[in-house]
């Protein structure tokens, strides 16, 4: 037993007392995410024409190991197309309770339409609210369903609880503020 040992231990405590803490006071402060983080999906658009990239081919649904995706295609109106080509996704649904965020859908997508984004705050109250439809997934939508609902109720913009050093180029047109 020596006084030195006691001082050494106290020294460690004191050093950490004055160093920057590793814990983050989430949700008051944003969580720093890595660029390759797998979060809520985004359906992207072609930046120049604004047409949806998704052609409703269902390959994401075929690749999904959790059967979380449901796609119902339809034929484009040539005058007023939704996507490039003849076919678009009339219904595009992802069940976020089933999704395991593996990213297989992103790899299977032949047009780069479905990309995993960064949003992870998806907790909600009802099963049905976890089924994200096209309007919840398309590129201009910011925030998950509960976040947008809350923002609407409080009449404030959606507050995202994360920050990324840079947004992956695959997430074309996605801006996180």
């Amino acid at each position: 037993m020596s006084v030195m040992a006691l001082a050494k231990a106290l020294g460690i405590t004191l050093r950490h007392f004055f160093s920057k803490p590793v814990t983050i006071p989430y949700p008051d402060a944003p969580v720093p995410l890595k660029p390759r983080f797998h979060g809520r999906h985004v359906l992207t658009r072609h930046p120049d024409t604004g047409l949806e990239k998704c052609i409703g081919c269902s390959l994401c649904a075929a690749a999904c190991p959790a059967y979380a995706i449901y796609v119902e295609p339809a034929e484009n109106d040539p005058e007023n197309p939704v996507s490039i080509g003849e076919r678009y996704a009339k219904v595009y649904e992802i069940n976020m309770l089933r999704c395991i965020f593996c990213g297989n859908c992103e790899e299977a997508c032949p047009t780069g339409a479905i990309v995993l984004g960064y949003e992870f705050e998806l907790a909600d109250y009802r099963y049905s609210d976890f089924v994200y439809t096209k309007e919840d997934l398309l590129v201009d939508t910011v925030g998950s369903k509960p976040q947008r609902r809350e923002a609407k109720e409080r009449k404030k913009p959606v507050k995202l609880g994360f920050e990324v050093p840079y947004v992956r180029p695959e997430l074309e047109g996605v801006k996180y503020e």
Binding site: S58, A61, P73, E86
Partner: protein, 804 residues
């Protein structure tokens, strides 16, 4: 039999077999695109190249031997197309040699060179032969080599080419779209039209890389055009009714049978999310081979529209949704005090035998004589002995009275086979031969094998040696004249048909050793004609194939649902009526106090007249047994598309009988089938392809219901319910009212005039079409499955300013 060796296996196949079939028979696989079952092999795609060698005989007539004393194999100098090469004794085939693999991979590359990379949006994706062959025999590993860091591209890639560009959305008809970029020029569709329905409408236009499929005609002749979407190996020809409905692996695929006509073709019902999205032909070598009619394929849109999921009860003049409890309470209140003998129980033409049994037993239990099924003919079809399509092919002469192309479309295709003299092919381990070398392009059809008579010039007339158009209602005279001609007696007069034609038909009939008589609804509806027919068949010896207008007529008659005395389907007489699956003409409801229907969706009559409508199932959704025109017992399997509360005939009948407080004969399909098994020895377990089931039935012809108006209802393959689909209506155009020019002049009608025709089945708009080949004094209108082949009373209303 010929002995030959495929790689390492010695096999024996019948003479005339192609090498392609021999290879598949031996259990090996080779890729092919242009060969298809029942079509002639032409060797167009060059995918099936194999190395073939044969032993040779020397000048001494002995096999030339090699050093080991075995017959020496002389290899052909180049690879041979297996589909057009005939097997020979001692032949040796090598499908695994390096040069074969190289040739096959090269051919896949050539085919892919100009094939667009549409697979994600192509409806064929996942079921595409080109996709599969590209994976199995393609060149993937040649493009890339494995390096330490993964894959490295070493060669050019098929992604770097500018591909051939052509019309991507070329509609061939309302139902079929052609994508000319995707076409790989296998020529299956071109050969199909010439060889199967016998109409040369499609052909190659231009040559080389510019080759495209085209037609002078728009639209493609309706009737059998849909089959080209099945046989197209790629996504060049696609079914527009199923366009972009789902990917191939997402469909729920149910193997069942089509109940549009009495042939009962085997079909796949592809459904998704509780909706029938696509119908495809399923192979049944003895019935429909691999073909189905357009009505069976494209006429499924009605199953989706306005499906009922809860009972509808009439309250204050309008039908409102109510609960089943309320419906039952309503029924028991209204049924109390009703005499059981005054109840009428009626079933649709596509009812299963179990339903028929339950309806017949319930009628017996109630003591009512009012029961029956839709489109029952006056002469029971079961009273005629059943014959198979194979019997037709084995015949030398066929006499056809009616219009098989419309009444039983599949039989029309088998008649084409009969005209070409094709007999059923030998079966191999892989089933039907893929490259049947007996088949050729443009095989002559032998008109001397066929005599046909009908009330109007049918499609079959082009192929018949003897033909005649009789006046509607004179089929009895026709058969009597035929019988008289066969017996060398004086001929009674047949309106419209010349004596020579009848004598010629009778002479050819007697000269042939095996004969088949095909008769349509009109004959079955005329007991005298049907009697004369059975006399001819019995006395002279002939197979009879009857085409009843009700799909399951044989099955339903067998269960006892054939009404002999009381008011049948569509006849007034019962005070309380229950119709399952179909509605009758409005006049049948005359005098009925309570009208209960069970329907998949509301129709005009139910909307106007019904007191209660229960949700019903369509035949795609039912379980049950059916008996086709050949007397072949088949089992329906349900596709998962019915609303949860939709009832089959047994459940709906039980619901009504319970409310009435009467005994329920059976509560489930299984129970009814067990009773059928006890009663009629119906087998409980059926093989997939069905089994012949031809018990003897004693039924007499029905009296009354002769009709006798001057409107003849022409058979059609399309049914009234299918006209709910807008695409079908567009494809068929407005119904035509066919009139002889003389009659038209007398009535003040002219070609192209728009009129309204009031028939017992309702009022329909029609366009007048003059036809001098039909009998004067009659009007002819498409029946759409209601009153097929009958003559009914009508009124023609000319709207003001209706003249075109």
């Amino acid at each position: 039999m010929v002995k030959l060796r495929i790689n390492d296996r010695e096999i024996e196949v019948p003479e005339g077999t192609s090498v392609l079939d021999a290879v598949f028979h031996a259990g090996y696989d080779i890729p092919y695109f242009c060969s298809e079952r029942h079509l002639s092999p032409i060797g167009a795609c060059r995918m099936c190249l194999v190395k073939v060698g044969t032993p040779r005989k020397g000048p001494d007539g002995e096999w030339i031997k090699d050093e080991d004393g075995r017959p020496k194999i002389f290899w052909f100098p180049k690879l041979m197309a297996a589909c057009t090469t005939r097997v020979s004794e001692g032949m040796v085939v090598d499908t695994l040699a390096d040069e074969v693999k190289k040739a096959q991979a090269g051919m896949v590359e050539f085919t892919l060179e100009n094939h667009p990379l549409d697979c994600p949006t192509c409806d064929k994706g996942g079921a595409c032969e080109l996709q599969d062959r590209a994976y199995e025999y393609g060149l993937f590993e040649k493009y890339y080599t494995e390096t330490q860091n993964g894959l490295k591209k070493v060669l050019y890639s098929r992604f770097e080419f500018t591909k051939r560009h052509a019309d991507k959305h070329h509609k061939l008809s309302e139902f079929i779209v052609l994508d000319r970029e995707r076409c790989i020029h296998c020529k299956r569709c071109v050969r199909y039209f010439e060889e199967i329905p016998g109409e040369e409408v499609l052909d190659f236009i231009e040559r080389g890389v510019h080759t495209l499929i085209g037609s002078e005609e728009w639209p493609l002749p309706a009737g059998f055009s849909g089959n080209i979407t099945d046989i197209c190996p790629v996504g060049a020809l696609l079914d527009l009714t199923a366009r972009f409905r789902a990917r191939n692996w997402e469909f729920e695929k149910t193997p069942t049978f089509d109940l549009t006509d009495a042939a009962m073709s085997a079909i796949w019902v592809d459904s998704r999310s509780g909706k029938v999205e696509r119908i495809r032909a399923r192979e049944h070598p003895e019935v429909n081979e691999i073909w189905i009619s357009d009505a069976a394929r494209f006429g499924h849109g009605w199953t989706k529209e306005g499906r009922l999921s809860r009972p509808l009860l009439r309250k204050d003049g309008a039908l409102v949704e109510v609960s089943f409890e309320e419906a039952a309470a309503f029924l028991s209140e209204r049924l109390s005090g009703v005499r059981p003998e005054a109840v009428g129980l009626y079933l649709a033409a596509d009812g299963a035998m179990e339903e028929g049994y339950t309806f017949a037993e319930a009628a017996k239990g109630l003591g009512t004589a009012h029961f029956g099924f839709e489109n029952a003919t006056r002469f029971p079809v079961s009273a005629l002995p059943a014959a198979s399509f194979a019997d037709l092919l084995a015949s030398e002469f066929a006499l056809v009275v009616g219009d098989p192309a419309e009444e039983m479309p599949v039989l029309y295709l088998r008649l084409q086979e009969f005209l070409k003299g094709i007999t059923p092919a030998p079966r191999y381990f892989h089933g039907t031969p893929i490259a049947d070398l007996r088949l050729e392009e443009r095989m002559p059809r032998r008109p001397e094998r066929l005599a046909t008579f009908a009330a109007y010039p049918t499609r079959l007339f082009a192929f018949a040696g003897v033909r005649g158009v009789y006046a509607p209602g004179s089929v009895a005279a026709l058969f009597e004249a035929l019988l008289a001609a066969m017996n060398g007696k004086r001929l009674p007069e047949v309106p419209g048909v010349s004596e020579e034609a009848i004598r010629e038909a009778a002479r050819r009939f007697l000269e042939a050793e095996a004969r088949t008589i095909v008769v349509g609804a009109e004959v079955l509806d005329d007991p005298e004609a049907a009697q004369a027919l059975s006399e001819i068949a019995r006395a002279k010896g002939a197979h009879v194939i009857a085409m009843p207008p009700a799909a399951n007529a044989r099955g339903l008659e067998l269960t006892g649902l054939f009404p002999e005395k009381g008011a049948g389907f569509g006849e007034p007489g019962a005070e309380v009526v229950f119709y399952y699956g179909a509605t009758p003409p409005a006049e049948a409801l005359r005098g009925a106090r309570l009208k209960v229907f069970a329907l998949p969706a509301l129709d005009a009559l139910a909307k106007a007249e019904a007191d209660l409508v229960l949700p019903a199932k369509t035949y795609y959704e039912k379980r049950g047994l059916v008996l086709n025109a050949e007397g072949r017992l088949l089992e329906l399997r349900p596709a998962p598309t019915a609303p949860a509360s939709a009832m089959d005939g047994i459940e709906a009948l039980a619901f009504v009988l319970e409310a009435f407080g009467k005994r329920v004969p059976a509560r489930s399909v299984l129970e009814a089938r067990t009773r059928l098994h006890e009663r009629l020895k119906v087998p409980l377990e059926l093989p997939e392809e069905g089994t012949l089931f031809r018990p003897r039935v004693r039924l007499g012809a029905r009296r009354g219901g002769e009709g006798g108006g001057s409107l003849y209802l022409r058979p059609t393959m399309w049914r009234a319910r299918m006209l709910k689909d807008e695409r079908v209506r567009r494809a068929l155009g407005e119904p035509r009212l066919y009139v002889h020019p003389e009659t038209a002049r007398a009535e003040g009608l002219s070609e192209g005039m728009r009129v309204e025709v009031a028939t017992p089945y309702g009022q329909t708009p029609a366009v007048v079409a003059l036809d001098e080949r039909i009998a004067p004094g009659f009007f002819q209108l498409p029946a759409f499955g209601r009153g097929t082949g009958r003559r009914v009373a009508h009124r023609i209303l000319v709207p003001s300013g209706g003249a075109a």
